[in-house]
Symmetry: D2
């Protein structure tokens, strides 16, 4: 019988913590899908102790062993240990990646997931090294919404989101790059799908996890400024899809100000100029913010996996930002639209659509980053 | 908050229990990979209560919602409730399939998995109906060995086996057929890969689960005669791969009789005639046994996913069985070999190899069964 | 033996002439790849009589029967009859498409291909009807350069170009749309790959075939104004790749004016502002020209099959055109870059790269044209 | 202008003549699909002079340059020169393969195709070397019937057959193996699809081209004994499909003997024993004949691309042959059936079906031949 030793996260030397993280390491909060820990261990057995809470959005997790997806499961409130493996050859080194599947949660203040410790009878060897680091910023597409579930499923719940089947992680894996992700379903660069102007990524980009509200999340560092201390080689933004939807949905009235917001189309169906201009200005502003925090990174604004209508306004704003600032290390790229037959749940991109997008993006980054 | 009601398995009217089953329904033992329960339910929440035990081989499980794989996880000893879903639209009908991933276990007497009850706030509606029923009989290929895991993984453990990625279940799903499976890694029709003559499927075919030994398994019906009460349309055997390996491995000495068994090759490397004849006779005998219990079924002996060397002896034995008995409703079919790049763990067929085999077998059965 | 009757092109009622055509119908010049004739005929036998000339660029042709590519061959100078089919069931209707594979030729004044007549023992039935019509404008990609040939082939010759394997014709076929194409390898919207400012598509767009020079081409109508009489539903431009290359190549000195032209990069490798502006202005001017002749068409500027570097200047120019003119029926779309392993000859997109681009473009047009 | 020199076939030192050939080399008859010449040449231009004749079945040809299919065309009666390439870089070496697309013809005594000479301004360099040599024996599948043409095409004509899209040539190319082919649509190992007992491959296997009748074919060596002088590593037989069809078609009355032949089914639809035995005996006899002429070759009987019903009789006969003769270097292998959506013309396997079969066969041969 294996004699397990428990290692608090903060005490493991050879631990690769990935994804967008704050200062707190013990216990280690996983705020975003695709945040987690990676380690190369000997030993026959390995457990990860979690602390979790939620109301209706359970923080699903997944883990991979030697790069192969092994398990994916719902985590319910409480402290619990997940057995990652047992009965393996103690002498052999295994690389384990354990990560959150559920996006950062802005609708369920109780939702949180923390890693307390790793228990094993093995040794921690140096984890894989990554030459490149990427940052992904997005909406439901980057949250992997619909990558699990039947194409007839329409209820919006935690289990349909993932980092395990996701163009962002597929791209990072194909390039053998470290990465961090920040995304939120329904949000845009200027406003949410429903014209809610509070639901824009720039408003939360500079905090560790500005999406996770409430005192408990604050206590674990969600509201802290994000430090951008690990330089990334490229920032991949995938926003605009919800800004597009806002032109098709009713006005949103701000509960605080009482002001109604609505992105409008003219009688012929085209975007009203001053409304689309709001999106463009938001793009320009967000690019300035991204550049400020990532001075050496290539920035590419990607778009198209759920329709191409915003291609011109988005690319125009990227051009305008480049002209205004003289920043040439910025680009625009269409990713292929989800075609009939490649949808997952919620009419979102399914696994094949994510694979196609990852193929285009991987090829793009390989050229830009000269890999 | 949902008010859940607990339904013991035996009391659920609208429950589809699938896979090879004995008489015991409460709690319901799941002996084989691909054994489980299916139900169409309303309600916001659903839990399945399990009772499990094991030494080193943990009974992994998986579940699908509306046909999409949602979760796969290790089950450890004890009584536990798995939350299958929460927070779904209570009015909407969901079809849930919950099943065992791990093959029947012959090396760990403690290993067992039973479903005690389903807890939900919904109603059980009539589950899907299946026009056709199939039986699969096999070895590690049918146990889905290597369908999870990295192609460098070589340790033999529970987590690499599955029913969720498996040519047998893929075929059944493609034909919308009910099915039952009996398989055992390393076993053959005459002997195991290591010449162990006790490791042949015919010896366990007539019991509910002749693979699960010990008094505890006996108590839940494993050693009972299997009743073959639900007629199948086709029996798909996939055996011979381990009988082939036996010609390459050292002798096995029966611990009881002290007799050494070894399948031999002649100096040129060909099978020694009397040894390959043992395999042929085992095939003939097993076909008689299968026919006895499945009088109306089409029987097809499939082979090839891990090499073609036994094609002639196996097909010759099928022909001889047909000649001897006059039974014409029997056939032989090569399934495509696993090619480099499509291996999973343990040098076994990976997901793509199972997909290719399922494509050939599905096409075959569609024609034979005139679907 | 079939008794054949000869029908001059101009006398065939039920003939679908496709591709960019001038007024001359007898004999019918085929100036562009993808120009040809289509007919639905009974009869056992059918011949097409051609008149051809060339110096070093032979006008290859291809033909399809009932939508399947049947033959592709080199045409040498002289008058000759191509037997399209023989010995078919006389009563059965066959649809034949016969077309030029070689792009319009600007380097070989002798190069020309004309259809004189069709000989058959059958009747001409009404040819297929097309609900939609598309126009494609492009460079070597649209000329199908490299769609035939080995990926090591680097000589620039006629046989590597095609309409038979081409994202433009694939798209038209997938949408069951009629089409016309105008393209020229090495040319751009502002200048050619070698900075030759005469090599821009706008300069030839308003003539039937401004690419085919010399008195003999003039005599068959190449220099006539193109009439744009058949309205198209969409214009798909695929230009910018050679304008990009010009930034990497030496200056071109105009042999007439003696002026040297060179698109330049700054020391950091970025496009010099006034040089990239020339491209943008050329885009804007060309869009005005396209709109003038295609008042109701959706115009989409596609780009990316051989690199993405011009995405921002091109899309910015499209936006600027839209702002200046108020024309909203215009768009920009990246097509996926050719990845390693999908190149054809000359480091150009091969068959798989064209298929991927056609998939994205087909999906795009299906949505925009609400098909 | 290139100055061409004409080289009669028999005078070219560095010429690789492939496919089943007799003694006559000048002019060189191409009796079978997949027969032709290969050469590596410098020079700007290359022509091949042909001599052809036919009544209703025109001997189509195809050619590849550096491994890429470049042209495919109908050849009509007369002497003619095909220009293979022009205007290429004279210094660069090009490898040309030129071959017949049409199967050997048993219904049109006039049909013949001969290569008289090659004209070029270049030099003949040593052609590619092949380590392995394969022989293919088959029916319409090996004749590539339906690999060109629309899936609605049902007339039986020359243009639908090929060696350019064919599981046999795909396999040889994938293994970089030289090959020879002998096949005939509608023929079997015992009888043709229509019970014509004269239509069996064994009856023509020992002649150069026993399929091409008449004095003119005799004059060019068709009726000569085939010399089997180049040893092959493997013989791949693909027969049985037409023997199967014979059980579903009316009797054939031999026009000479007046005897009626019909393969019969019993009232339950199974093969009548003495009739299927005729097929088995034909298999055994043919294997003896193949072995006699190919003493060192692996022989594999493949079957299944158009249905699996003959799997047991064919494999049983292969086993019986092996038992009788002690020949162990013989095998049976199912190739995957053509599934809906992968048919070509005439309900025969289309390009994708040939690709799938080639993948299985290539993998098989790679293992057996230890490549």
């Amino acid at each position: 019988m294996a004699v397990l030793r428990e290692y608090p996260v903060s005490e493991i030397m050879n631990l690769h913590i990935f994804g967008r993280q704050g200062r707190q390491k013990q216990p280690l909060p996983l705020f975003f899908n695709g945040s987690g820990i990676e380690m190369t261990v000997t030993g026959s057995e390995l457990w990860i102790e979690l602390e979790a809470d939620c109301d209706h959005l359970e923080p699903w997790v997944a883990y991979e062993i030697n790069g192969a997806l092994m398990s994916r499961q719902m985590i319910l409130p409480g402290i619990q240990s997940i057995c990652v493996f047992r009965s393996l050859d103690p002498a052999e080194a295994k690389t384990v990646r354990f990560y959150r599947e559920l996006q950062a949660v802005s609708e369920d203040e109780r939702c949180r997931l923390l890693i307390r410790s790793v228990k094993t009878d093995g040794e921690f060897l140096p984890p894989p090294k990554y030459e490149r680091r990427l940052e992904f910023i997005g909406d439901s597409i980057t949250s992997g919404e619909g990558t699990y579930g039947c194409d007839m499923d329409t209820v919006w719940v935690a289990m349909y989101m993932s980092a395990s089947v996701n163009f962002a992680t597929m791209t990072a894996n194909a390039l053998h790059a470290d990465y961090r992700m920040i995304s939120q379903g329904g949000w845009g660069v200027y406003c949410g799908w429903d014209n809610d102007v509070r639901h824009n990524l720039p408003s939360v980009y500079e905090k560790v996890c500005g999406l996770a509200d409430g005192p408990e999340n604050a206590a674990i560092g969600a509201a802290d400024p994000y430090e951008f201390s690990d330089a990334v080689d490229a920032v991949i933004v995938n926003l605009g899809t919800n800004d597009n939807s806002a032109f098709n949905t009713p006005a949103f009235t701000d509960p605080v100000t009482g002001i109604a917001h609505r992105q409008k189309r003219d009688p012929e169906g085209h975007f009203v100029k001053e409304d689309i201009r709001k999106v463009e200005e938001a793009v320009i502003g967000f690019l300035k913010m991204i550049r400020k925090h990532n001075p050496g990174a290539h920035i590419v604004w990607t778009y198209g996996m759920l329709g191409y209508e915003m291609t011109l306004p988005l690319s125009r704003a990227v051009s305008e930002y480049s002209s205004i600032t003289g920043d040439k290390n910025v680009a625009f790229l269409n990713l292929p639209n989800t075609t009939p037959g490649t949808h997952g749940a919620h009419m979102h991109p399914g696994p094949k659509a994510h694979e196609k997008a990852a193929e285009v993006l991987t090829d793009y980054l390989r050229q830009v980053l000269e890999m």
